[in-house]
Structures are given as C-alpha cells and as structure tokens.
C-alpha cells in the first residue's frame, strides 16, 4: 500500500475560523464573553427581533487589518458586507452577515518552516469577518431542542488559504503558525478545545506530476490539531482507495469520526445549499483610509520570527532557546519581564533566566496545565533568583529548590519574603573547610564507589558531586566541591 500511496500527492487548502477577542459582539452591544449562562448575552438586535438593525463594531476591522498585515495581504480600501441566507434555528435572522465578493484582505502569504529545514510559502486567498451563529442543543430533552443565542453575533475571522498545502505536515505547520500569529496579535486565544478556533479542510489527491487538481472534498469543523492531522490523513487515504479501485471522487462535505479515524460523507440533501449571497443593505461600506492603516501598522507587535532573531542578537541566546521562548507571545513577554528585572544584564545571567523559564516555569505550566498568564510567580521574582545564582549566593541546584518554595507564595510580597528567607537558608557555602568535611563524610560512606573510581571509573565523580550537593542541601559552591573532591580522591 505504501508504494501505492507514494504515487499520489494531496492538494490541501485550509479555511480557519477564529473567534475575535472583542468586548462586545460584532453588530450589537452584547458581551462576547464565552462562559455565560445560556441566553444571558442577548438583545433584540442579536435575537433578530423585527425592526432591529446591525451596527458594526469597528474593533473587528482593526483586528482584520492587523491579521492582513501579518499575512502580507493587500488591504481593500472599500469593502462591503453580504448576507448568507439559510434557515436554522440558531441563526436568528435567517441569514449570517459575512463578506463575500469584497473581503477586506486578499492575496497574502505565510512562510512555514518544515521538518527538513526547508521553508515553504503558502498563499492566503482572503481574510474576512463574519458573525457566529448560536448553539443548538439537541440532547437535553427527548422531544425538543433548545437554542443558546449567546454565540449569535460573536465576531469571527475567516482565513482562507490557497490550495498550496501538499502534506499533512504542511497543514499542521500552517495551522500552528496561523494560530500563533492570532495569539501574538491578541485576536484570538488559540483555544481549539473550547471551539474558539476551528478549521475546514479542502482535500483532493492527484498522481504526482499531474497538473490538474482532482475533485475535492471538504471536511468541516475540525477542532484540534490532532483531528486536523488525522482527518487529512484519513481523507487522503479514502480518496486514493476510491481512485485505486477504479472509482471517482465525488464532491462532498465530509465529517470526521475521531474515534475510528475515518471520514464519511454527510447526507447530500443538506448540501443542496444555495446561500443567495447579496450585499447587506443595513450596513454601510467599510472604508479603510490610509490614516487608519498607518495607525494599525504603527501599533503592530513584533512577529515571532523577528522576535526570535532579536532575542538571539540582543540576549545572545542560541537559536533553539530563542525559538522555544518566542513560540508563545506571552511566554516571551514573561521572559523579557524577567530579563528586564535583572540587576546585571550579563549574558550569563540572561542564560540563567532562559534556563529557569524553559525548564522550571515550563515544567510547572505543563504539570498544572495552565498558560503563562495564569502562572503565579511574577517575572520580577525570577530575575531575583537569577541574580542570586549569578552573584554566587545560591547554586543552580539551590535555585530550583527556591523556585519550588516560591510556588506556594500567594502574593508578590509573600514571594519576596519567602525568597529572602530561602536565599539565606540555602546560601552557598564557599568555606573550604566546611565543604571538605562534607566531602570526606560522603567518601567515607561510599567506600565501594571510591574503590571503583580508583579502579578507573572516573565518571563516578558525578555521583559523588550529587551526594555532596544533596548532603549540603545544594548550598555547597560546586566549583569548590569539584576541587576538593578531586583533591581527596586523587591523593587518598
């Protein structure tokens, strides 16, 4: 089968829908808050009451233009909204306000880096704004459905790629980078599980070398990275199987079954949709002036690639560290906060900060499954720890213990007093005689290892250092420990 698969090449385009972070909804003053009790963020406008009219929340346009700049798009000077007409109980007006013929942003691109170190450019066809629908709840009662209109009218950004994607890996990288950019621009929180970011994939396959595209199918509403990868793989496989068995792929909307990792066609009756798009007469044209564009350009944050490069120059970080830190905007902000709090901006102390955030902070975030914004130790406190290590007051080992102690702090003041106490408790011992007594104690307690060391197992030095540091609760100055350990092992 693998040889069969390798004859084919997939052609993939992604449509990414993300909820835009705004205080209020797209066309009314209701809150766009995610976690509210059902039908609490509603008003006559978003409920589609007779006689009501939409009024554009201009923050949407700001967001769209920011994303347009980030994805190298041309920004249309005058664009209009359109109505997409269809009936569904969670669509209060019987149409969705969206953009059709004139999206605000068009003809952009995004460069992604692949595993093989190559860079690939993916075209961005268009970016536009639209409103979300409400949520139908079918499983609450047996004989009736309920509708929650809190989501109805919440603003969405839709980013449509060219069919330039040629593998699941590329799709994954493209989606990750779009998500990262949305988070950097603070347009979206990137939370796929809560549904604030979702993706439709258009997929076709063709024989390698073939110029024409095959017939595509669309998989709707993929809501995790894993589902995107698995669904694309499954659909490619399905289409190749159809072709190999002599059949033709028929255009269809597919749904993905995450349990079985298969795709299947939705009932084709629903697909007889004709959305009867036409210009939305209740809203005026959106005119983006040069001044408006300039204002947005000036307020754009630094994008991940540029920030990574800057960190390498400004902080002398190696690429791997810099790349890791700048993946997440807020994580990088945290790092910079910690660096800015350092007493000494020495390269070494910055490296200590980098090590603490990448190892200790990251570990806690993973353990607690939280984002950096929910993390309790402020960046400033990390600078204090790093300063202390840099000044030789505490060892790296001790700094990890201090970090763990601070995790229990509830406020910044409490953490500072915890830090001061821990720093003095764990302050590094540089007194040779005191350290030497520990060294001798450890050697006495481990005669077998001493014999093996002397027999040539030099790597046991690490074992002794570990024991000595443990014995001194990490307080012994490692440099002196090394000196004294070698002296005693070699001369005994």
């Amino acid at each position: 089968m693998d040889t069969v698969l390798s004859k084919y090449e997939p052609v993939i385009g992604l449509e990414i829908h993300a909820q835009m972070k705004t205080k209020s909804k797209a066309f009314c003053k209701c809150s766009a808050e995610f976690h509210s009790s059902p039908n609490s963020n509603v008003c006559p406008v978003c409920l589609g009451y007779p006689g009501t009219l939409p009024v554009l929340n201009e923050n949407l346009v700001d967001h769209i233009i920011r994303m347009g700049f980030a994805l190298n798009c041309s920004i249309r000077k005058v664009s209009i909204f359109a109505r997409k007409n269809y009936f569904y109980p969670d669509l209060s007006k019987g149409y969705q306000i969206t953009q059709f013929e004139t999206p605000i942003c068009e003809n952009g691109f995004l460069d992604i880096s692949l595993r093989n170190k190559e860079t690939k450019r993916i075209g961005v066809t268009r970016i536009h704004m639209e409103e979300d629908a409400g949520k139908s709840i079918h499983d609450f009662h047996d004989d009736e459905s309920l509708v929650d209109f809190n989501r109805c009218g919440v603003p969405l950004i839709e980013i449509v790629s060219e069919p330039d994607i040629r593998s699941t890996e590329e799709a994954f990288r493209y989606l990750s980078k779009i998500r990262q950019t949305l988070i950097y621009l603070e347009i979206n929180d990137g939370n796929m599980e809560e549904g604030s970011l979702r993706c439709d994939a258009n997929i076709s396959v063709r024989l390698k070398g073939e110029k024409e595209f095959g017939t595509r199918c669309e998989i709707k509403n993929l809501n995790s990275f894993k589902n995107v990868s698995d669904a694309i793989d499954a659909e490619i496989f399905r289409q190749i199987k159809v072709i190999e068995s002599g059949g033709n792929v028929v255009f269809n909307t597919m749904t993905f079954n995450a349990k079985e990792k298969t795709t299947s066609a939705t009932r084709s009756k629903e697909e007889a949709h004709d959305y009867r798009y036409f210009p939305e007469p209740d809203l005026v044209k959106v005119t983006v002036t040069d001044e408006w564009k300039l204002k947005i350009l000036e307020s754009l944050p630094e994008f991940p690639d540029a920030r990574c490069k800057r960190f390498m120059n400004e902080y002398s970080l190696p690429f791997s560290d810099s790349d890791e830190i700048t993946q997440d905007k807020f994580f990088a902000d945290y790092f910079e906060e910690a660096v800015s709090g350092l007493k000494s901006k020495d390269e070494t102390s910055i490296r200590i900060v980098s090590n603490i955030v990448r190892a200790e902070v990251r570990r806690v975030l993973n353990e607690q499954k939280i984002g950096i914004k929910e993390f309790n130790i402020p960046g400033k406190v990390v600078s204090m720890i790093a300063d202390s290590v840099f000044a030789g007051k505490v060892s790296v080992t001790a700094s990890k213990e201090i970090f763990n102690i601070l995790l229990k702090g509830n406020s910044e003041e409490e953490m500072i007093s915890l830090f001061n106490k821990a720093e003095s408790d764990l302050s590094q011992i540089s007194d040779s005689s005191e350290i030497e007594s520990v060294v001798l104690k450890v050697l006495d307690e481990n005669p077998k290892e001493v014999q093996r060391y002397k027999g040539g197992e030099k790597k046991l030095a690490g074992f002794f250092v570990g024991k000595i540091m443990q014995e001194s609760r990490g307080k012994a100055n490692p440099k002196i420990v090394n000196e004294l350990l070698l002296k005693n092992l070699e001369t005994e």
Binding site: P50, G51, V147, R276
Partner: protein
C-alpha cells in the same frame, strides 16, 4: 364635544389659551375612531394610555414644561415598534407578538410629548398598494367606503383623513405614503433615504424603506419631521447631515423666479387617467402663470422602474422576512413533526399570498444562476435611474408629476391582478430607487369626486424645499 382645529399651530394656540385640553383632543379622536369602526383603520387603540398621557401633558402645559409636539396626537403604522405593544405588520405570522423596544422615531416623538393613540392597519409587511393584503382585513377609504384607501400605509392615510388623529407615521418602500395620501386627499411626505432612522421599522426592503408622515398641511408635517429626523447610532444608514428648522421653513414660500421646475413627459404617458392628467397639467400652467420656470427634462430609464423595483425589493424582502420562522416569536404551526415541517408550515400558514409571492420572487432572483441576470442587472438599472435624477437636478430644482395614474379604485378590483396593482407605483417607485425625497399634495378631484395628488420630487435632503413649495402649490 369641543371643536378641534385642523392644524397643529391652531391646536397649540388653543391649548395655550386653555380653550381646549389634550384630554379633549384625545377624547375627540377616540370618538371618531369608535364612530368609524367600519373603516377598519386601527389594529390597536391605546385608549386609556393616550388619555392618561394627555392628562400628564396638560399638567406639563400648565407648568410651561411641555415639549414641542404637545397637542400632536399621532397614529402609527403597525410596522413600527412601540415598546410593550403588539407589533403585527398586518400579518398572522406575528400573532401574539409584543415588541421589547421603542423605534427611534417613537422615542423621539414621546420625548417631545406627542401622544400615540394607536397602531393602524396596513398591507402585510407593507407589501401592497390597496391595504387589502392585511390579515386584519382591508381598510376602507373614508371618502368612499366602497374604495381602497391605497397602500401599504392605508390605515395611516385613512386615520388622518377621517380625523382619528392629527398626524400619522407611515412607511414606504415604493410609494406607500404618497399613493394613499393621494387617494385620501391629504399630504404625505417621504423623506430622503437616511434622513429618518429606520431603527424599529420592520424591514421590507432595507435599501428602500423610509418612514414618512401624513398630515393635513405642511406645517404639521414639518413639526413632526424636525423631531424624528437626524442621525441615530442604532442605524448606520442614517445620515449625520444636520437637521434644519423645518417648521420655520414650512411657513416660507418661494419667489417663482428663483425656481425651475422639471416636467418629465415620461410621467404623462399612456395609462394616466385623463382627469388626473388634466388636473396636474392645469396646476403646472398655474405655476407658470405665477412666474415659475417650467423646463422639459428627461428621465429616460423610467420605463425600467417597475421591473427593477420589484426585483430588488423582493430580493431584500426574501432575506428580511427569513427571521419570521416560528422559532423565537410569533406564529408557530402546531402540526409539525420535524424541524423542516415547522419552518414550512409556520411560514406557509403565517404569511399571506402577496408576501409569499414576493418571497418566492426574491428567492428566485438571488439564486445562483439567476443572480446576474436579475439582481445584478436591476442594481445597474437602479444606478442608471439615480443618474437620471442627478442629471435632471443639475438643471432643475424640483420635478413635478402626478402621484398616481388613477384615483382610488374599488375594493377587490385589482387584488386578483398583481401586475395592474404593481403599476400603481409607476410614478412613485423611482423616488425610492433614487433615495430622494418627495411629497404628494392634494391637487384636485376626478369625475367621481375622488381626490388625486400632485407629486413634487426634490434633491436629496431638500425636504425644506418640498415643505416650502407646498405653500406655492396650495395657495
């Protein structure tokens, strides 16, 4: 019963002289409403509320704190939202529906102490030219009860003509104010698109709809217009051009030598009733006699008005009326097993024939494959019609025409023939396509004693001009 003067100015004078009270006014109108129930004008009468408000305003008048519209008792076409009241749009589909908010025009009227006496009948969702397409039955013309009052704002026109109120708020998409004003022998003003907020007006065709005013004279209409005009942050299509003092302007008239009036032969062709033609031409001659310059102009795309009007308004209506689905409010059919059946049955049972006809037409012209041939082409025609007017208004200040090709026809006469009904909009719909203001002023009476109006069309935002020329026309 005390005698009620016919105009707001005289009413306000009598109020200040304490010859009458607002309560007297409301009682008088209520009596007329009750006496002429046969006309089927009102859908809801706010009897107790209007009397209570009248008493409040009388108290305000005593303390000198009453608003500009104290003494103005107004009926409202039942497509405009009045908080906590039934809003029917003349349709079964809104059975039992009470709205939650005031339209912007209602807020503004109430803040100046106007009294709303009730909601008046109209064609269902303002679709019609005879007021026969109402779920609540047809309105009869007060001048001849065998005839229609015009539509869609037939209830509004009849309520003013039958002295059930002083003024009425109507709405129009293609002539629904001017045509019934003409049929009922009163004045009706349609303002520039964007002059009056549409927030709270149930949409028929959003890019055409405007709220307008029925009254006995230009001063009354001006007083109301001044209060309800102006930008509204709830309607982004409302204009922020400043609102002039219409009331003061309505008391002025033009020096004939300053004004050029355009005469378009396209409005006097075949299909125009000879009595109306004669009456309007005589009026034009009398204006010439007074020294007005009358110039022949051309509106070459007039022959495409009705087609493009019905394509575009039906397209917008098909979408605007999608929200009436029985899910959140209004009528829901009882006999449905599935979601789809609920939609189909609720809408089939809830909408009347004319509304269904337009939804089907609009759905068709927006469908993939037909969009370019119909909707897009009609949009282009609309642009050409706008250009016609722009060119004409480069040469003249006003354009004069009959309001309607015929006077009030008999109930039932045209209801089975939608095309001949649609032709009733032939002189009025172009104004809505172009978004300009126009007024219908009583002009004369035909061989059957039925009134007809003369229509004056103006440049965008030249409502002051229309209110002023009213004086020249009626003197």
């Amino acid at each position: 019963m005390k005698k009620i003067p016919p105009g707001l100015k005289e009413i306000q004078k009598d109020l200040s002289l304490k010859n009458i009270t607002c309560v007297d006014l409301v009682k008088n109108y209520l009596e007329n409403i009750n006496e002429r129930k046969d006309l089927n004008v009102f859908i809801s009468v706010f009897e107790n509320e209007a009397l209570a408000r009248a008493a409040e305003i009388d108290a305000k008048l005593k303390s000198g704190k009453a608003g500009k519209l104290a003494g103005a008792v107004i009926s409202v076409k039942d497509v405009i939202s009045v908080k906590d009241k039934k809003l029917t749009c003349g349709s079964k589909i809104l059975s039992g529906f009470e709205t939650l908010y005031n339209a912007t025009v209602i807020e503004r009227l109430l803040s100046e102490d106007a009294i709303i006496i009730g909601k008046v009948n109209c064609d269902e969702f303002a679709m019609g030219s005879s007021n026969e397409n109402s779920f609540f039955g047809p309105v009869k013309n007060p001048i001849d009860t065998t005839r229609v009052p015009g539509g869609s704002s037939g209830g509004s026109a009849a309520s003013v003509a039958a002295k059930m109120c002083l003024l009425s708020l109507g709405s129009e998409t293609g002539g629904s104010i001017r045509q019934p004003a003409s049929f009922c022998g009163i004045t009706g003003l349609k303002a520039t698109y964007g002059r009056i907020s549409r927030f709270g007006l149930v949409a028929f065709a959003s890019s055409f709809d405007s709220i307008g005013i029925f009254g006995n004279n230009n001063y009354d209409i001006a007083a109301l217009l001044k209060v309800i005009s102006g930008h509204d942050s709830s309607d982004s299509t409302s204009s922020d051009i400043s609102v002039p003092d219409y009331t003061e302007l309505s008391e002025q008239k033009f020096k004939p030598e300053d004004i050029k009036i355009g005469f378009a032969s396209e409005y006097f062709e075949e299909g125009l009733d000879p009595d109306i033609k004669k009456g309007v031409l005589e009026k034009i001659d009398s204006l010439k006699g007074k020294g007005f310059q009358v110039e022949e102009i051309s509106l070459p795309h007039t022959k495409y008005v009705i087609q493009s009007y019905y394509i575009l308004t039906s397209a917008e209506a098909s979408s605007n009326l999608s929200r009436f689905d029985g899910v959140r409010y209004g009528y829901r059919s009882e006999n449905s097993q599935t979601m789809e059946e609920m939609y189909v049955n609720s809408r089939s049972e809830g909408f009347g024939d004319e509304v269904k006809r337009r939804i089907m037409l609009g759905t068709y012209v927006l469908s993939a494959g037909y969009y370019d041939a119909y909707y897009r082409k009609a949009q282009k025609v609309r642009r050409l019609i706008m250009n016609d007017f722009e060119n004409a208004f480069g040469k003249v200040d006003f354009i004069i025409s009959p309001t309607t090709p015929n006077t009030a026809f008999r109930l039932g006469e045209k209801i089975e023939d939608p095309l001949s009904m649609y032709l009733n909009d032939i002189y009025t719909a172009s104004v809505n396509l172009a978004g300009i203001p126009a007024i219908s002023i009583p002009c004369g009476i035909d061989r059957n004693g039925l009134p007809f109006g003369i229509q004056i069309m103006g440049k965008k935002f030249d409502e002051p001009g229309l209110l002023k020329i009213w004086n020249n026309i009626t003197e």
